[in-house]
């Protein structure tokens, strides 16, 4: 390990570490400063995106409440000592009169290319979905991404009874819960339907119990 200029003597390890340590400290300080400036903006953007998604699937409620799922039921807060960041959330929307509209639930499942993330609205009193919105998908542009872009497909989720039943286009038998898949994007469509069904399998009893406790 020789240096370029032969007349320079061996640099003591202390100085090497000291230089790196100092550089690290200055770097850390700079980052913290920028972070202080950036974090509020990032957090508010995240909240706004969530709010838009919830409002879309619940059809513009007057307000909504964040609820946490743990210990086999839905609660308004986390138990003592548990960080809310790690808990699953559902969102309960209320209309102007203060009556509950329905829950917004997130779901995710690996699709054709990668994991599809979505949010859907559900009213446990009627057992019907209120709407669906794809949050994140990396499906093939022009084919799989129709789950986001095909408005007929997205609209099919409004008012459909759970559990959902995927059917090929034109093969609908008029049964409750049928959703027609997109031609050429059957796998992506089916993934959306299965993700919703899986989430409801798990959460529907909890949501119904919470709604019953709430009163209407």
């Amino acid at each position: 390990m020789s240096s370029a200029a032969p007349e320079r003597s061996e640099v003591p390890a202390r100085r090497l570490l000291g230089t790196l340590g100092l550089a690290g400290a200055i770097a850390g300080l700079l980052i913290v400063l920028v972070y202080q400036w950036a974090e509020p903006r990032i957090a508010s953007h995240r909240a706004r995106v969530l709010q838009l998604a919830v409002q879309e699937v619940l059809h513009d409620p007057a307000r909504f409440e964040t609820l946490f799922v743990h210990d086999g039921s839905v609660h308004t807060g986390a138990p003592a000592g548990v960080d809310t960041a790690g808990l699953e959330r559902v969102y309960l929307g209320y209309d102007d009169a203060g009556a509950p509209v329905g829950f917004a639930v997130t779901a995710a499942k690996p699709g054709f290319q990668d994991v599809i993330q979505l949010i859907f609205g559900f009213d446990p009193r009627t057992g019907r979905l209120l709407g669906m919105k794809v949050l994140q998908s990396l499906e093939t542009p022009g084919l799989g991404d129709k789950i986001e872009k095909d408005s007929t497909f997205v609209a099919a989720f409004e008012g459909v009874a759970a559990p959902l039943l995927p059917v090929k286009r034109g093969a609908a038998a008029g049964e409750a819960g049928e959703v027609e898949m997109i031609t050429g994007a059957t796998i992506s469509s089916r993934t959306v339907i299965e993700a919703i069904n899986a989430a409801l399998d798990r959460l529907r009893p909890l949501l119904e119990a919470y709604m019953a406790r709430e009163g209407s």
Binding site: I31, Y35, P110, D114
Partner: protein, 192 residues
């Protein structure tokens, strides 16, 4: 759970191949000489570093970085650089023959986007320990597969009548494009 682990491994290896779909690890991909044996060794070295990185990243994310998420990038880089240094020293000590064969490739792994890419993806997707390992093994196998495929094709084209202008990186990239197109066929592999 095991179905999910299998999906992560196969997805990282084929459906979302690190090199041909996610565009990570391109520097060794382009620069590795057109010989299958070298490609295999490079791939093996990468798998090893990826697995160790995955474990270290999981450790960092779980125990150290909870309170300072903005220091994530710097700590990842420091860890990766140190790991490669340690691996280099260990290989040199325990298998000098392997060290000579790998030559320049070992230090170059530090700047391999795939290693840092793995760390970032693993963090963003919130993988646990086993899921991270599965991810790393799949990614490493996928990298090796892409390297070996490209090396074997290049071995063939050395003897082919390629126009002088296209010889070199232009051809390699077009070949890579064809490989990537072929790998698109893996999409939907695990779907019902």
């Amino acid at each position: 759970m095991s179905g999910e682990l299998a999906w992560i491994l196969v997805s990282a290896m084929l459906v979302n191949n690190f090199t041909l779909v996610l565009f990570l690890g391109l520097c060794p991909f382009m620069g590795v000489s057109a010989r299958v044996a070298t490609a295999l060794r490079m791939g093996a070295a990468n798998i090893f570093v990826l697995v160790i990185t995955s474990m270290s990243v999981w450790f960092l994310n779980t125990f150290v970085l909870q309170s300072a998420p903005f220091l994530r990038l710097i700590s990842f880089i420091v860890v990766i650089a140190s790991l490669v240094q340690i691996v280099e020293m260990a290989v040199k000590k325990f298998s000098p023959a392997l060290f000579r064969e790998l030559g320049i490739f070992l230090p170059l792994i530090t700047t391999n986007c795939a290693i840092l890419g793995l760390a970032i993806f693993q963090t963003n997707r919130g993988y646990g320990f086993l899921e991270g390992l599965s991810f790393a093994v799949g990614a490493g196998l996928g990298l090796t597969l892409a390297l070996v495929l490209m090396a074997s094709i290049r071995e063939r084209t050395e003897l082919s009548d390629v126009p002088g202008l296209a010889r070199g990186m232009g051809l390699v990239l077009i070949l890579a494009g064809s490989l990537s197109l072929a790998f698109m066929g893996f999409a939907g592999l695990f779907s019902t």
